[in-house]
Subunit: 303 residues, 2 copies
Amino acid sequence: MLKDTVRTGSYRAAIVNNGHLFKGKTVLDVGCGTGILSMFAAKAGAKHVVGIDMSNIIDQAQNIIEANGFEDVITLVKGKLEDTELPIKEYDIIISEWMGYFLLYESMLDTVLLARDKYLKRGGLIFPDNATLYLAAIEDQEYKEEKINFWENVYGFNYSCIKDIALREPLVDAVELKAVVTNPCVIKHINLLTAKKEDLTFDAPFSLMATRDDYVHAFLAWFDISFDCTHKKVQFSTGPHAPYTHWKQTVFYTPSTLTVFEGQAIRGRLACAPNMRNNRDLDIEITYMTENHPETKIHYKMY
Amino acid sequence: MLKDTVRTGSYRAAIVNNGHLFKGKTVLDVGCGTGILSMFAAKAGAKHVVGIDMSNIIDQAQNIIEANGFEDVITLVKGKLEDTELPIKEYDIIISEWMGYFLLYESMLDTVLLARDKYLKRGGLIFPDNATLYLAAIEDQEYKEEKINFWENVYGFNYSCIKDIALREPLVDAVELKAVVTNPCVIKHINLLTAKKEDLTFDAPFSLMATRDDYVHAFLAWFDISFDCTHKKVQFSTGPHAPYTHWKQTVFYTPSTLTVFEGQAIRGRLACAPNMRNNRDLDIEITYMTENHPETKIHYKMY
């Protein structure tokens, strides 16, 4: 993921170019991985950085911190934030790269919110501090044939039961902008300074205005990330109009094809909740209708 | 993997086009997955097919078998072959798609050999019955920069300790034929009718003759599969000269670049053994030298 230059380059711009925010400050890096964000913060002038991660990668992170001469500024802690005693009790800034596919799948956002409530000083900053989830509809005949309808005839055999399962599994894939046939609609905005864990379960209406006469085979979701507290606001998008990121976009195929006309809307709702058994999994329900298409509800599983 | 047409198409040709071998026979499908090979065998005229798999996919396989009207011919069993009582005790034919990356990584070959010893009639057939592992050397400057040397400078930081780890992890990737700068050399041949579990631990010499003056950045391994018992011998290769398969090839980067001259050989040994703690993982040691390059030994881990 270090090789995702949109991702890592945006964090670098937000942190290293904002020395006036970091100089002399205490910084907590939630899910620090190899320590790249911690090193950006140290380079930006932070007085002390604490990086925490429960993965074994933190052993390598310690080697990397030392190889780069940051061992006096950066302290690494192995463990779950929920269960671990940190060497510093209050922080000016929290930094974290917590975003998953579809923003929330396997995301660490709840841990970041916990870190904020437990460790962030009043008036402290969070990098990034805003995330926005979008939905649009796409024409995707060719891929749908390959990914979904493929199961109707597998070397002459009927695999339709797999088709039903495949349809309910959102597909993480890079989609071309020309496939998008509606305006995008904001499904969810998250302000990390104020969001609560309960906000990650939501049910949002949408209205997607068709920008041309076409067919719709799927809904498409992506997210934008913003560091609003930076001097010259740093932001990046994972949408089909923006450069490739490892998050790509998320495709939700519909069972039947919709026929849409320029200026008409696909109306509906998207409900999202952490799965009861594994809260890093997501249950997503999309309800949709058009003037010519009856209300349809599909339950998707990101497991 | 059903979408790998080289793989599935070869099994179909080997089974469905050889009705004279399957007609009226009992067949055991080891690791049957969605049941595609079992259905090929049924279509080829088998009297009874038993498919066994320990994965939950077998629940879907049962639906698929029924949707295609094979429930009277195919019996599916969920479980580990080692611990499970099968409904038929002797089989004329064993079919299995057991091959992993580098042929042996996470492979089910030891289970197939066990099935052979326990269940195959004297003179019975195994589909496929032969596998051959090859090694060559490649020029791969560009990818090595991206995959390995990348770690020397990550956004200005020294990540060399990750470089050392990355070098020891063989990379599964599709390599262009033009990258190959030596003749291939057979490292291991496995005849499934006679191989023993101990044969999967081996130490083989190689001599790779350079076909042009060039540089070498990595060794490249791939395998060929053959159904020698079929009427018109069915075989396929996963090499760089053959159409793409999901197995791709396996790249072993060398720490330093070798300079090779047309007609000269890279000589060495490749030793391969299942990992002590997890026997589906592999420990691979490659020793190599040229006239101009001292003997070097690298331990690779496929975990």
